[in-house]
């Protein structure tokens, strides 16, 4: 039995990240504009206020999954127990089938820079992350999907390719993967690795969710800005990921230059069309879309 089946991870279809400018429209509109919603966990961890009210109302219309940016699973500081307790409470309130955060660290010595900082990929850091993922999943009690972050530097001490590192974390810690196809593309451009080979090396049944987003070309590097439509090359990578992983929940992220709700919904519909047409051409058993490789 594969990981998704074992943990009864559903395919939620194609959703979008819920952002503040769209909340009123989502609440006033009929459900079903998209299949599901993802929220930034940290925006909903407070003990009160309008955000909690909105979240409860959105939850009446859509399945909601929390996506965090502050777990700092690769950090050298101890995991913040108070943060984890609030996150666990949020996951319970949402009855979320999984929760996600990034393979990264966000600070040290109590300082939090609110960024997804890259890990050195070594045997020691692998063991460190595995131990922390186990602890976090033990606390939250639903699968963690660990996302590959976009990165802009590599450490000299790294000895394991990123795709092997994240696959190994997932296997040893028995967690899921959030495969951000745009991040694969961005990091492949920045570091010179083969994006297709990366996608092909990810254990398909561990992929609980796929992210799609736009990025910006800064000349000597790509920046993961979530500020535009998904690029053509990224749609191609998405098709490749679908052929390997099968029908996996997919989500459009758009965080800067946030467009009208209708534009975001149209992007989700495009993803749905790509997903439907790609999966229609898959032959179960020939690809690795139902079980691991």
């Amino acid at each position: 039995m594969g990981y998704r089946e074992q943990h009864e991870v559903p395919d939620l279809g194609v959703g979008v990240g819920l952002r503040r400018p769209h909340v009123a429209q989502v609440l006033s509109g009929a459900p079903g504009a998209v299949d599901w919603m993802e929220i930034i966990s940290e925006n909903y961890l407070a003990e009160g206020g309008i955000q909690r009210v909105h979240l409860e109302a959105v939850r009446q219309k859509y399945r909601v999954v929390p996506h965090g940016v502050s777990l700092s699973i690769g950090g050298a500081d101890a995991i913040d127990k108070a943060y984890l307790a609030r996150l666990s409470d949020l996951v319970r309130r949402l009855d979320a089938p999984w929760f996600s955060d990034h393979l990264c660290w966000t600070g040290i010595g109590g300082i939090d820079v609110h960024d997804l900082l890259p890990m050195p990929y070594t045997e020691r850091t692998l063991a460190h992350v595995v131990e922390r993922v186990k602890r976090v999943q033990g606390e939250v009690r639903v699968p963690l999907a660990l996302e590959n972050a976009s990165t802009y530097l590599e450490f000299r001490e790294s000895e394991i390719p990123e795709h092997e590192f994240i696959a190994e974390v997932a296997e040893r810690a028995d967690c899921g993967i959030l495969l951000d196809v745009n991040n694969v593309f961005v990091s492949a451009y920045n570091h010179g690795f083969d994006a297709n080979a990366y996608i092909d090396a990810i254990p398909p049944d561990r992929v609980l969710q796929i992210h799609l987003a736009g990025h910006e070309d800064k000349g000597s590097y790509l920046l993961d800005t979530h500020s535009d439509h998904v690029r053509a090359d990224v749609w191609d990578l998405y098709r490749r990921a679908l052929r390997r992983c099968g029908s996996v929940s997919t989500l459009i992220e758009w965080d800067q230059s946030i467009p009208a709700w209708s534009v975001l919904v149209a992007e989700a519909h495009k993803a749905r069309a790509v997903r439907t047409s790609t999966l229609a051409t898959c032959i179960p058993g020939e690809s690795a879309w139902t079980t691991g490789p």
Partner: protein
């Protein structure tokens, strides 16, 4: 895994990322970057690669503070001067919480302590009222006040009652009517520099989750503050009566009744607790 090499690497990266100037401008830091980070295959130096994260640190946090402190930004002279303040604040007090909502927690104290902003009463007032709105925004929810507890209490129980104030309520004294200044900025008008005038203001989140502010009398502020600190009603009224020269608390009673009615209507009072024997 102990802190060891991972901790050392992460400390160095955070030092680089939180600097106000490019990594390459610091010879020692640039050498550390060379030692730890590979150059990119597209010609970026290790220092330039670290700078991608450093630039994002400032692009993320300075606008976040500006959004949270609109009155302060106006009071110090606009976005450009506010940026100088934000950079000084973040350089001195880098973020120590995952919660971006709390990024500016130390900014009011920073304004009071650091030149050239210290001594500027308007900037101090503006920083405090902006932070009060931030705190009220996501303070804990509590069940609404149940007036039935009042009808059950005998009159002699009232002096011993403790009045529980809603977690979102922030009551403060200012040297300027900064709540009006903040509202004018929110309304998009072009406010004039407010004249100095002692003003007592309560900021709170109402039952519909809207943030509001209102000026109150000095004695009402003193009483509300004492009650919020947990003083029983009788003791709090006595202290306020003494401080205001009203003699005894009975002279204050009609005003207290009026305030209490208004506070419960506005949702500032969320519970009244009487001693167990009542």
């Amino acid at each position: 895994m102990d802190d060891g090499s991972l901790g050392a690497l992460q400390r160095l990266v955070v030092t680089a990322v939180t600097r106000g100037v490019p990594v390459g401008d610091d010879v020692g830091l640039a050498a550390d970057a060379d030692r730890l980070v590979t150059p990119s295959h597209r010609g970026m130096s290790p220092a330039a690669r670290l700078d991608v994260y450093r630039e994002q640190f400032w692009l993320r946090h300075v606008p976040s503070l500006e959004e949270d402190f609109p009155t302060l930004s106006w009071a110090v002279g606009g976005p450009s001067r506010f940026r100088d303040l934000a950079v000084d604040y973040l350089s001195t007090c880098p973020p120590r919480t995952w919660d971006l909502q709390r990024l500016g927690e130390g900014l009011p104290a920073h304004v009071d302590a650091r030149a050239p902003w210290n001594g500027d009463r308007l900037a101090s007032d503006a920083a405090r009222i902006d932070w009060a709105f931030m705190e009220a925004f996501d303070a804990a929810d509590v069940p609404p006040f149940d007036p039935r507890v009042l009808s059950a209490a005998p009159e002699d129980a009232w002096p011993l009652a403790t009045i529980v104030i809603h977690p979102s309520v922030r009551a403060m004294a200012f040297a300027h009517p900064v709540h009006e200044l903040r509202q004018a900025l929110k309304d998009g008008s072009d406010p004039r520099l407010p004249a100095a005038a002692r003003t007592n203001v309560v900021v709170w989140r109402d039952a519909t989750c809207h943030l509001r502010s209102r000026a109150i009398e000095a004695d009402a502020l003193a009483l509300l503050t004492a009650l919020a600190e947990g003083a029983p009603l009788g003791q709090a009224c006595d202290a306020v009566a003494r401080a205001s020269g009203a003699g005894d608390a009975s002279e204050l009673a009609p005003r207290v009744s009026s305030w209490f009615r208004s506070w419960t209507e506005d949702g500032w009072v969320c519970a009244v607790r009487f001693p167990p024997h009542y």
